[in-house]
Symmetry: D2
Subunit: 344 residues, 4 copies
């Protein structure tokens, strides 16, 4: 990476925010309870519950997103039950069949703008009508979505109502929940998520933690015996405090939202700059993940200076995926825009 000016590949390029590492160092040689039952994890769990205003929720800290997704989904479904997800859903595309590996089919619909709609869910439910087909039982969506989009409160309400009507769990992958909730375009509050979802996670890895996600279980039916599932899937860390300490540091004084705000601010500044130079976007930019559309020649030149993924081939254009993070310096945005101006 060294030879390029900057990487916009992801929001997990930088290791961890200094305050997070400082909190870990401050533990010193204190002896802690193991497997997530230490005082740090317990306090961090309380902070999560306060933040989302869900005092009766269960909170579990897990090393990464794929592991979080697969443990929760494995715990929720019986063998013949299936997940409904948008075609762009991370579990469908980029987790190497992790859900199928625990035995479950993922039924996908195209959705719109990378977002699943209540009508998509209804269609899947109607189609799966007898025992020759799997039975849909859990809806998986991401907030923000893999396209960078955010569900509106109304959209999420419709999805939630549709789920309750059809006996479906609603599970929200919150790898980028911070970015979503700190977007100027969002009309949801953390509390709304807790009211509408049966489970979701508050992502740490992509928002300044060294590693770790906070899984929140709201539906009582999903709470019992969850630690058995965690242990069986290798998700119960002996030193669970390693994540608890981090989340305490992130949530105690607002650091979590502060970091997410910077990521989004940098993302939108980048979007503005790109837009002002006359380039369009695959979806309207609202968080720290943008998908600008560049002519191939421009993209090729940018690739020589910056790191980013090509999201979609559009013939003589390419849709590029660009991410900013809590650590992205403003001057890198300015520099990129200047370079883009020169190239274009």
């Amino acid at each position: 990476m060294g030879i390029k000016k900057y990487s916009f590949r992801s929001d997990y390029c930088e290791l961890a925010h200094p305050k997070v590492l400082e909190a870990l160092a401050n533990v010193g040689r204190a002896q802690l309870d193991s497997y997530g039952l230490d005082e740090f994890s317990l306090r961090a769990g309380e902070l999560v519950k306060t933040k989302i205003n869900a005092p009766s929720a269960d909170v579990h800290f897990i090393a990464g997103g794929t592991l979080t997704n697969l443990v929760l989904i494995s715990s929720a479904l019986r063998p013949f039950e299936a997940v409904v997800a948008p075609e762009s859903g991370h579990i469908f595309v980029h987790e190497t069949g992790a859900i199928e590996a625990i035995g479950h089919k993922v039924c996908v619909m195209r959705g719109e703008g990378g977002k699943l709609r209540a009508t998509d869910i209804e269609a899947v439910v109607v189609e799966h009508c007898d025992e020759h087909m799997v039975k849909p039982r859990l809806v998986y969506i991401s907030l923000s979505a893999e396209s960078g989009a955010i569900y509106t409160k109304e959209e999420l309400l419709e999805i939630s109502r549709c789920c309750r009507k059809n006996n479906l769990y609603l599970y929200i992958d919150g790898a980028r929940l911070g970015a979503a909730m700190n977007s100027p375009f969002v009309d949801l509050k953390y509390e709304d998520i807790a009211n509408m979802a049966d489970a979701f996670y508050v992502g740490g890895t992509k928002n300044g933690a060294l590693f770790g996600e906070a899984l929140v279980i709201l539906n009582n039916g999903l709470k019992a015996d969850f630690r058995f599932h965690l242990k069986q899937k290798g998700a119960l860390l002996a030193k669970g405090a390693a994540i608890g300490v981090q989340f305490e540091a992130l949530l105690r004084d607002g650091l979590y939202d502060e970091l997410a705000s910077n990521a989004v601010a940098m993302g939108l500044k980048l979007a503005d700059g790109i837009g002002e130079l006359g380039y369009g976007f695959l979806y309207p930019p609202v968080t720290n993940l943008l998908i600008p559309i560049f002519p191939l020649g421009v993209a090729d030149k940018l690739h020589m200076i910056y790191d980013f993924y090509d999201w979609q081939n559009l013939g003589d254009m390419t849709a590029a995926r660009m991410l900013t993070s809590w650590a992205t310096p403003e001057e890198m945005i300015d520099g990129f825009i200047a370079d883009l101006k020169n190239i274009g």
Copy 2:
């Protein structure tokens, strides 16, 4: 835990050695490659290979021991193939059926002193003779064993030869490899393990790391496509560097063996003290894990002052499991012996 003097429950009570956390802090805001392909993980992998003198090995860093075991075993076996393990093996007893959850039976033998013998393996192979039974394909042992014992070089050679003769992989759970290799009673070198095993892991969690284990794959047949297995099981951390940085810090200047040496020294000092007071042991103490035998009355009084597990009920006696760690202060050993003297 706070009100008791000290916990001898495990070697993962303390979070992480300061030098490990310092190394993490030193990374700063550098942008790193993701999913274990960063420079720290690459350098740490080289250090592992140098340490075990196996230049062509593959090294993967994984968040915890159960996850490491299940990914390796899942990658190695076809559906009808099984694991052979000692009855006390961690995967058989204390991983909530993680191996069965990925589809494989664990065939156990009692072994001796918590160690599996080549003759045990032969017996399992002979017994499983046709397609109505699973086919043994991988031998799982721990070094040091769950009983605290260490395999001798001769024992391990016999097991290794037995495995090669019978087309069995030999996989060694090295959660406490450091303690084993730094025992004054060991006659094995790291290099011997690499020569005899098809895969093993160098445990970090129980030897001063915040979290993480280094899985070493030696058999070429097990190397291909391993990252697919990691990703599918949720074991490929986006910020893989979080482990790589730690292992570089542990291995670069000998910290790993230094920490293990302290754990073992404290364990053996504790064993000596207990022995001098006339108590026996379930197995001869050779590492940082001891199983002393106390009369129930003594054990009850100790439990009021110290934390430790009861390993086995022996009627009017109890076999207690006690562990020391890299962080155990010598005065805690002295204190415990003094308390035990008073109680006895």
Copy 3:
């Protein structure tokens, strides 16, 4: 097999009773509903329910015993839950890890005489005390057992009470249920089984059917969505009537018990003959499965004339497993005894 006088290897050596095949032929070219919803299967289901006096039971017809076991167990357990079985249990020994392949550990106890005891179950429950271990949830026993033994009503009551107390399902493998229920030594009725078990199956394959078992589900909690499980595991035959027709033929006029009675009568006659010649048995013979103990020299000579398995090596003796079936002719028993007399 042709050159030997007779095979005592199993009770499934002969294809099917003529009346069963006649019933299949009588269907002619009638068009039938598929997937077990045809009139024959429905009537056969009613006959099963009448026989066991359980009008609210659900009955499903499945091609074979291993498939029946794995579908039922897969439907009943959540991922971290486990089966408790005797060490000689068919699912533990002779189904190639079928239960582990659907994700579940089988916890075994030695039991006595091939039978599991309520105290064995209690011991397993007590031992599995936290989320680091699987949670026992279903008890598997066979009636008659793999050793040929039959549980007494009192033994089964104790097991049933123990299961209910500990929130365990009781599932009975009835591959040889006919033989058990038609033994002069049995004090159980079909109805008792239905009252005590949560599910069991009435075996057809080993009692005159061409193939097929009748799975009976009594616990309401296990009934819902069962056809999804059947279909997913490949156990829902398009021509389900192929089994339904057979069970109607077996149950309508008492053929099922008639065939089992002959199998047992021949078994006990064989046992008497062997006993009168001074040979002992590993377990007291009570059904159509005997385990006589022969000196190696005698066994070797018998193997030249008859087919049977060696069950256990006892040094200079061998425990031989011998089975009679619905089709075993009395003269074969007489012949065997005469041959044994000459050999001994």
Copy 4:
């Protein structure tokens, strides 16, 4: 079903051809080897191999299609490997997630006319480029397809070449292989299938057998240890001869093709009649499965007299799925056409 004139729902409405049942009856009380090692199964296996001109193939008899598919696919794939199939593929739609339940993702493409094209396969291979995605390893197609279509020799050759180039197994679901091979529109021979596929099955259930399919494994890499897979998945019948006897009866004197020919002849006669009355088809009818398009009013009236499935809703039209079988009498076709004429 009784009150309607006839069912065109499927080709498995009638139980079994009389000669098949006669063959079963002729076995009498002969004692047979178990688990598919009997003389009938061995002879039937030879007949299959002769028919497809593949003397070194392995043949296994399995109770049903879903079970056959899942055992073969489970045996062929490592955990991260996936199946490529057409969107209409039976394993994707109508087997209740059986393939996902054994851990594998099914990647689908729309294809054309219900048939997958080599270019579809290439596209899936190209798209799955790294360890964050599953790795395609086996192509599943059906012959005849679920749409009733038949692959041409050229199409199958292209698929086969594409598979070999991309290290993909080609597996063909032959539930309706008989109908395909006896269509006047086919340009493939049984031998061609054997030359191009790595494995396929010759369906019995839908072509006059009581139950059972003959799985043919051609690729040596898929042969070893296959009986372990069969047993583990509950697919190794104790009385394997129950299928072997049937296949011997079907293949010895040409009965298999004779029955398939009748099914196809009746199907095409039905197609002709429908076409002559001016109705179109979703795909050109070439086998015993037709998908005619009727106005809703016509379909509603037909449903009152005949049994058949609605395959697809087309607004004010419906695409109906109709099947004929080995047992369909010509007068039923005439009657249906007459009724359709009256209704239309």
